[in-house]
């Protein structure tokens, strides 16, 4: 584990509500520079809510969040994003009325340190399928193509932390493999990642650390192999 001074994201005692329903009950989380964190849990346990809270999308929230040393507890989503956080949402969030090309270049932004390595060209190389559909509107893509587009778009913002919520959903096995490779590459290049994925085994092999959520609380956490080895894991994931 990285030393605590290198945490790029620190969140403590996060609570979140949707209307009157209390979804997150005091979650602590920290992500180090270049670290990969896996977030596990069954359907509806609050994984996406936690992510959306960190990103500032859930307005009814409580707790303290710092990102790159700045307090973002009450920050608005675009301010969080500009600090260098990219988001691949579940359900993809591709803009249906923009072409593939437009979906990509509208997002392009240099990294905080001026990085510019995820160029338009490189994204298309990574996802050749997109290259063939450049002028198609987002709405006209197949499910998997949308997923690729969403990841590619996130990369073009040159983030320091990339959050992938079910990023491999609907992708063909070969592409999934590619994605995991991309994730490794991202990790190797020093970008931190927070991953939610239904393939928990794969997550646990990729991640440095993992957290398991149950009903809005962290019930298990630790190094990936510790979590993978925990006898309680099967219970929490219902397998």
């Amino acid at each position: 584990m990285k030393p605590s001074s290198e945490f790029i994201l620190e969140a403590s005692c996060i609570h979140a509500w949707y209307g009157s329903s209390h979804v997150l009950h005091g979650i602590d989380l920290a992500i180090g520079r270049g670290e990969t964190i896996g977030l596990l849990g069954r359907n509806g346990m609050g994984k996406s809510t936690l992510i959306r809270t960190l990103l500032g999308h859930v307005t009814q929230r409580d707790g303290r969040i710092t990102l790159f040393g700045q307090d973002t507890s009450r920050a608005r989503p675009h301010e969080v994003a500009r600090l260098g956080v990219a988001y691949v949402p579940e359900g993809r969030g591709v803009f249906p009325n923009l072409s593939v090309r437009e979906n990509l270049i509208m997002a392009a932004r240099r990294g905080r340190d001026g990085r510019n390595d995820w160029s338009y060209g490189r994204v298309l190389e990574t996802f050749p399928r997109l290259k063939e559909r450049l002028s198609n509107l987002g709405a006209q893509l197949s499910g998997g193509e949308q997923q690729m587009l969403s990841i590619g778009r996130a990369l073009m913002t040159h983030p320091d932390l990339i959050i992938l919520d079910e990023a491999t959903e609907g992708l063909a096995p070969l592409i999934v493999l590619d994605i995991w490779n991309v994730i490794s590459a991202i990790r190797a290049s020093g970008i931190a990642t927070l991953i939610v994925d239904r393939d928990y085994r794969k997550v646990l092999t990729q991640a440095d650390r993992a957290l398991v959520l149950q009903k809005g609380q962290v019930v298990l956490q630790g190094n990936a192999d510790e979590v993978a080895g925990s006898p309680a894991l099967a219970d929490y994931l219902g397998v």
Binding site: G41, N43, E90, R129, G143, G144, G170, A172, L174, I175
Partner: protein, 258 residues
């Protein structure tokens, strides 16, 4: 029709048949002469690269979009020119890859409305919809099969992503179809729900013909009798699971080291 009412035949009875289906989107040939049979009592998986045309195939079979050429036969009837609702009423059910639910209705109402399709009777304007026992019980049945018993009163829009995926299946079941076209039903589901889903499919299999589009290979190989592999709009192989697993072309194009 309830699954129990159908005697399981020995000789496979083809419920849905697609013949030489072709579909163009502008210059793109999304489907190129695809034919396939769905027999009662079997799960037929369609796998393939992203953008291969799997969802397009389901859309054409279910009547959501017309084919550029080719024909569809449902329960022995030629239905190529039929609208989607008409096919659905004959016994075709589908789920969507992207959630297609009624977000402002409760989970139960989502199911009930789907079940109501079987007994529409719109002219009975004085009778409350909640008094139709047939659709109420069908809805309860479908919801509990999909594992949504605890969430019946929740507005569907407030479900988590995985829960919405479960609802998607429940709504498909609520219409009591004989032919099920499932577009990536496991996507977004957790491990537990995946298991439940596979068990459900196994349970449905006897009375139904099921088309399963899925990228979860473990699941596909566990449950499918037959697998069709598509790449760029064309079928490159159609075989038993074992045959597919060992097909080098399929490995190169789709499976990788699976």
């Amino acid at each position: 029709m309830k699954p129990s009412e159908i005697s399981s035949d020995v000789s496979p009875e083809v419920l849905l048949r697609g013949r030489e289906i072709t579909r163009r989107w502008g210059g793109l040939l999304a489907l190129n002469g695809v034919s396939l049979d769905l027999a009662r009592g079997s799960v037929h998986a369609v796998i393939g690269t992203n953008g291969a045309g799997k969802s397009t195939l389901i859309n054409i079979l279910s009547g959501e979009i017309p084919p550029s050429s080719g024909s569809v036969e449902l329960l022995g009837q030629e239905v190529t020119g039929w609208t989607q609702p008409r096919r659905a009423r004959l016994g075709l059910g589908r789920s969507y890859q992207r959630n297609t639910i009624y977000p402002s209705f409760s989970v139960f109402e989502n199911c009930r409305l789907a079940a109501q399709a079987a007994t529409q009777k719109p002219w009975q304007w004085w009778r409350s919809a909640q008094h139709c026992d047939a659709s109420l019980s069908a809805a309860h049945d479908a919801a509990s099969r999909a594992g949504l018993n605890d969430l019946l009163d929740r507005p569907a829009g407030l479900l988590s992503h995985g829960q919405k995926r479960q609802l998607e299946i429940a709504m498909c079941l609520a219409t009591a179809p004989q032919v099920l076209l499932l577009d990536e039903p496991l996507a977004g589901m957790g491990a537990e729900e995946t298991e439940r889903m596979l068990a459900l499919l196994a349970e449905l299999k006897p009375g139904h013909a099921i088309l399963l589009v899925e990228h979860d290979m473990d699941a596909v190989f566990r449950i499918a009798e037959r697998i069709t592999v598509m790449v760029n709009g064309a079928v490159i192989a159609s075989d038993t699971p074992a045959g597919i697993r060992s097909n080098p072309q399929v490995q190169a194009a789709y499976l990788g080291d699976h």
